[in-house]
């Protein structure tokens, strides 16, 4: 893992527990959007409800909310 990804991961770790406790949130990860590292919050449904409770960036890292549906063991 390169340094920028490691740093974004450390920031994510500080907040993800709180975000995972929000209804409909299923996952939090690090992605790359337009060559920028972002924290991606995946939600089962109700994107707008979750988006209203999560900042658009945290400690300089953009945060995106994305609809993925329920994650099930396959």
């Amino acid at each position: 893992m390169d340094d920028p990804t490691r740093k974004a991961t450390e920031i994510k770790l500080r907040y993800e527990r709180k975000w995972l406790d929000i209804a409909w949130v299923t996952a939090v990860g690090i992605g790359l959007v337009d060559n920028t590292l972002v924290i991606i919050v995946s939600v089962e449904s109700n994107v707008e409800f979750v988006r209203a409770q999560i900042p658009t960036q945290i400690e300089g890292v953009p945060v995106m909310v994305k609809l993925t549906g329920k994650l099930r063991a396959q």
Binding site: M1, T5, T9, K12, E16, L20, V25, T26, A27, V28, G29, I30, G31, L32, I40, S42, L67, T68, G69, K70, L71, R72, A73, Q74
Partner: protein, 336 residues
């Protein structure tokens, strides 16, 4: 349809006459008509193409097995294609069974045989806990069927292995194994009984256990019943860490061969295991839609056939993958 070269019928007649003789030569697996290639470039000359399982040096072939450069005035071309096998659906019975085929504990539906791994110089089948160990409910030595029960696998005729080891999955709100909590609850339940109440307390863990893997291994009954190969992919070259943007592929019981890209790393995900069972997984890889129910246990490889993960969960849009380093570390296994 494009116009055929003027000599196509002549070449076809020649091939029809020579086909039997060519197919008897060692290593030839197919014959056909195509354009001859020279030094990697396609020419405009029609040729009789001989597909071979492996291309051998002339010095290693007998005169009888040599393919002449021309048959009368028609050129020939030799192309290595590997062994051509009839396509078999991954839900069928395979002996030997490769990765990408149906497998399962005798009490589940079906999942996917990931690949073979080695531990203490013995070969094992790698897949998920929820495929081989029925999501913690199995016992070591339990029967593993190929194909899985949903695909018609029956005991004992389709037993391929026995469950050898699994990494338990920690589920949310499971009963607590904390001694202090247990003693306190016992005391309070005793008081409750003394005052005539029929209500009892139950200790359970509110802090979610963090899982990194959903994995298990099973020992084949006979080493000849498995093969170190993955359907539609081939042999694993090595092991590599999954990274953002890496192109990946898998072969699974339900959706067969699919490809994708690692879109997220360091993923923490809450995964549903049927009714009222949820488990938190950390340090996962996330890709787009490349799997469905029954693909769990698939080995995930990169473009160079290096193993990067073990597929175990997903949604309509998403696939969640254990990092292979975490899987191998938890089970103490390596590639064979």
């Amino acid at each position: 349809m494009a116009n055929l070269p003027t000599n196509f019928e002549a070449v076809r007649s020649m091939l029809n006459m020579e086909r039997k003789g060519l197919m008897k030569k060692q290593h030839v697996v197919a014959t056909g008509i195509g354009y001859k290639t020279v030094a990697g470039r396609t020419t405009k000359d029609l040729a009789i193409i001989c597909s071979v399982d492996t291309k051998k040096a002339k010095s290693m072939l007998s005169d009888r097995d040599m393919i002449p450069p021309r048959i009368q005035d028609v050129p020939t071309d030799v192309r290595p294609t590997g062994i051509i096998r009839a396509f078999q659906v991954p839900t069928g019975r395979f002996r030997p069974a490769p990765g990408g085929t149906s497998i399962g504990h005798y009490l589940i539906t079906a999942g996917t045989l990931g690949c073979l791994v080695k531990k203490n110089n013995e070969i094992y089948i790698l897949s998920n806990n929820h495929v081989l160990a029925n999501s913690n409910e199995a016992s070591i030595g339990d029967i593993i069927l190929q194909p899985g029960p949903y695909d018609g696998g029956q005991n004992p005729q389709d037993q391929i292995a026995v469950l050898s080891e699994f990494v338990p999955i920690g589920f949310e709100d499971e009963d607590s194994d904390c001694g202090i909590a247990g003693s306190l609850v016992s005391f309070l339940n005793m008081l409750s009984e003394m005052v005539g109440s029929t209500t009892r307390l139950r200790p359970y863990r509110i802090q979610q256990t963090e899982n990194k893997v959903d994995c298990a291994i099973a020992r084949p009954l006979n080493s000849n019943d498995v093969i170190n190969d993955i359907l539609q992919i081939g042999t694993i070259s090595g092991v590599q860490e999954g990274e953002l943007g890496m192109n990946i592929k898998k072969s699974g019981r339900t959706t067969g061969f699919t490809t994708g890209t690692i879109e997220q790393v360091s993923v923490s995900a809450q995964v549903s295991y049927g009714t009222n069972k949820v488990a938190l997984f950390t340090d996962q890889l996330l890709a787009g839609a490349m799997s469905q129910g029954g693909d769990s246990g698939s080995a995930v490889l990169n473009g160079n056939n290096n193993l990067v993960g073990l597929l175990f969960a997903g949604s309509e849009t998403t696939t969640i993958i254990n990092r292979i380093g975490n899987v191998f570390g938890a089970l103490g296994v390596t590639l064979p």
